[in-house]
């Protein structure tokens, strides 16, 4: 049984790490409100550093609270399955931003909870990067964002629609939102690094409105069509496969509740 202090400390860690994670993605819009100094030009590096520390702290907290033998086995095997889907997608690219990995991240997050969903998202990206040679500076951001995808799916449980007709519609809607939002967030992390001249690029000292306008122009010109295909892919996969997948996952959730009781010989 957890004591109150432990819950408080854990909640504080979750709150700070997720808030800083969000700030780390969205800082190009509000940084000028803090300072109009030229030192802002160095801020992308500072934010990357802060996001990195927060992500490591979040992983440490999530793993400590969630892992036991059943959790390790289930997570490991499902991550392997999802990483293989991404491996196939890398070998035979789908249209636009279509990626099959979000389907399983969303459904497992919904069935097994926020911690499982977060780790499923983050570790799917890590393992698939390891097997396809995709380790790079983008990886911590991808892991953070994919983790959020899984964790938010668990938030749908507040509607108490488990096993009812509306749950698939909810997952489909969330899949559509994340199809677009994942691309938007991932663009944000490198947008300030691609600084230069032009009406679509981030420069230090922009007001948040000007920053937002420039990012919107950049996003529409470079990524919107790509991400719409990704969102449509999520919608189709969830519409066709979510119901049987949820049934299978729930059946195994019950089977995974065995308890080991040591007996003295």
């Amino acid at each position: 049984m957890k004591d109150r202090k432990s819950i408080l400390l854990s909640s504080l860690i979750y709150l700070i790490t997720n808030l800083v994670g969000l700030v780390g993605f969205f800082y190009p819009f509000f940084l000028p409100l803090l300072s109009a100094d030229r030192a802002q030009a160095a801020s992308p590096w500072l934010m990357t550093l802060l996001v990195g520390f927060c992500f490591v702290a979040l992983l440490l907290e999530v793993q400590g609270d969630a892992l036991n033998a059943r959790f390790v086995a289930l997570l490991g095997v499902l991550v392997a399955l999802n990483a293989v889907l991404r491996f196939i997608e890398t070998a035979i690219p789908g249209p636009g931003g279509f990626s099959p990995i979000f389907f399983l991240i969303l459904t497992t997050g919904y069935v097994f909870g926020a911690r499982f969903g977060f780790l499923m998202g983050a570790l799917t990206l890590l393992v698939s990067a390891l097997i396809t040679g995709g380790v790079g500076p983008w990886l911590p951001y991808q892991m953070f964002t994919a983790g959020w995808v899984g964790a938010t799916a668990a938030g749908l449980r507040v509607f108490r629609l488990e096993g009812r007709r509306g749950e698939v519609a909810l997952l489909v809607a969330l899949g559509a939102v994340w199809g677009l939002f994942y691309g938007m967030l991932m663009n944000l992390y490198f947008w300030p690094f691609a600084a230069g001249l032009g009406d679509q690029q981030w420069t230090a000292g922009l007001s948040w409105i000007a920053g937002f306008q420039r990012y919107a122009a950049f996003y529409v010109a470079t990524s919107l069509a790509w991400d719409i295909v990704g969102a449509l892919g999520n919608v189709l996969l969830l519409s066709f496969f979510a119901a049987p997948t949820l049934r299978a996952l729930r059946r195994f959730r019950r089977r995974f509740t065995f308890i080991y009781q040591a007996e003295a010989l």
């Binding site: 400390l9 860690i13 700070i16 300072s35 100094d37 030192a39 802002q40 801020s43 500072l46 934010m47 550093l49 802060l50 520390f53 927060c54 490591v56 992983l59 440490l60 793993q63 969630a66 892992l67 036991n68 033998a69 059943r70 390790v72 086995a73 289930l74 997570l75 490991g76 095997v77 499902l78 991550v79 392997a80 399955l81 293989v84 491996f87 890398t90 570790l123 890590l126 393992v127 390891l130 396809t132 040679g133 995709g134 380790v135 500076p137 230069g196 001249l197 032009g198 009406d199 690029q201 010109a221 996969l237 066709f240 496969f241 299978a248 195994f252 089977r255 995974f256 308890i259 040591a262």
Partner: protein, 348 residues
Amino acid sequence: MIHATAWYIWLLAALSVLLGTRNPLYLIVLLAEMALVVEALYAPTGEKLRAPVAPGRFALFVVPAGALFNVLTTHTGATVLLRLPEAIPLLGGPLTLEGLVYGAINGLSLAALFTAFTVLNLAVPIRDLIRLAPRAFYPLAVVVSVAVTFVPTTLRQIQEVREAQAVRGRRMRGLRDWLPLFMPLLIGGLEHALQLAEALTARGFASSDAPFDAPRDQGVRYGLLGALLLLLTGGLLRLAWNLQVWGWLLMLLGAVLFGWALRRAGRSAPRSTYRRIPWTRADTLITLGAALTVIPLWLRAGAARLYSPYPALTLPLFDPWVGLAFLGLTLPVFQLYRARVAAAGAAL
């Protein structure tokens, strides 16, 4: 065999110089040197690259694409090549040589970064990457190990299910036809997971509901919280009030406290090392070579380090000492060829 830590230091040095310069001449030299390392890593096995795209192919795509994107969307620069009608949204206006060169430099920088990470992906086996994870992440390292081990099994399972479906005469036409492939795969995977969980439990691996049978160390949590608050405060001092020294000091303290918390968290994680990879003289040389690569760029290069083609195109400067220091990144090539010659000699 080069030590994984030496490769990490090599990567850090490569990233430091790549992110520290916008000079296209330096970037081309660095890209060529890293391509040599990729070639040296690739040659002995002849196996397919463990990278989604070969670095050369990536560079051939990203440099022209970067140039094209920038020239079409940035209408600044003195040397006008062409004018598109202003009526075309986003693209209308003068297309300049400076815009073209700036975009190509962006692409070059991306291609060099990609090549640096390709070197790491090729050089360090997955098991060594997992082994280098801090002990505090032992449970997650186990999950990643399980996942990596199950990837070939899952691929084999896909093949088996596909063959079984083909024998029944089922063909993949629409999206619905993928369901009979996906569901056996998912259920088979979950059955595997159940067996694995039972096997882990039978071997006494974190079998109770309380993870790893140990109460959480509140000291680690206090350490993490303190470290995060120090890092945030330091960052804010730098960004909002421009207090650079105090900002860096607090951030440094935060990083030290973070390291302490990780170390403390790792104390409860068991680890047995059955085969320790030795650190050799070659590893020391590679590390020193990588470190020497970084210093001259920051000490000597001056204006040549940060080149910009705007407002009017000029030739970038090239400091030969800096160029010479970059050779430090090619030291792994000599070590790899030396090891290959030694292996060939032993085989004879």
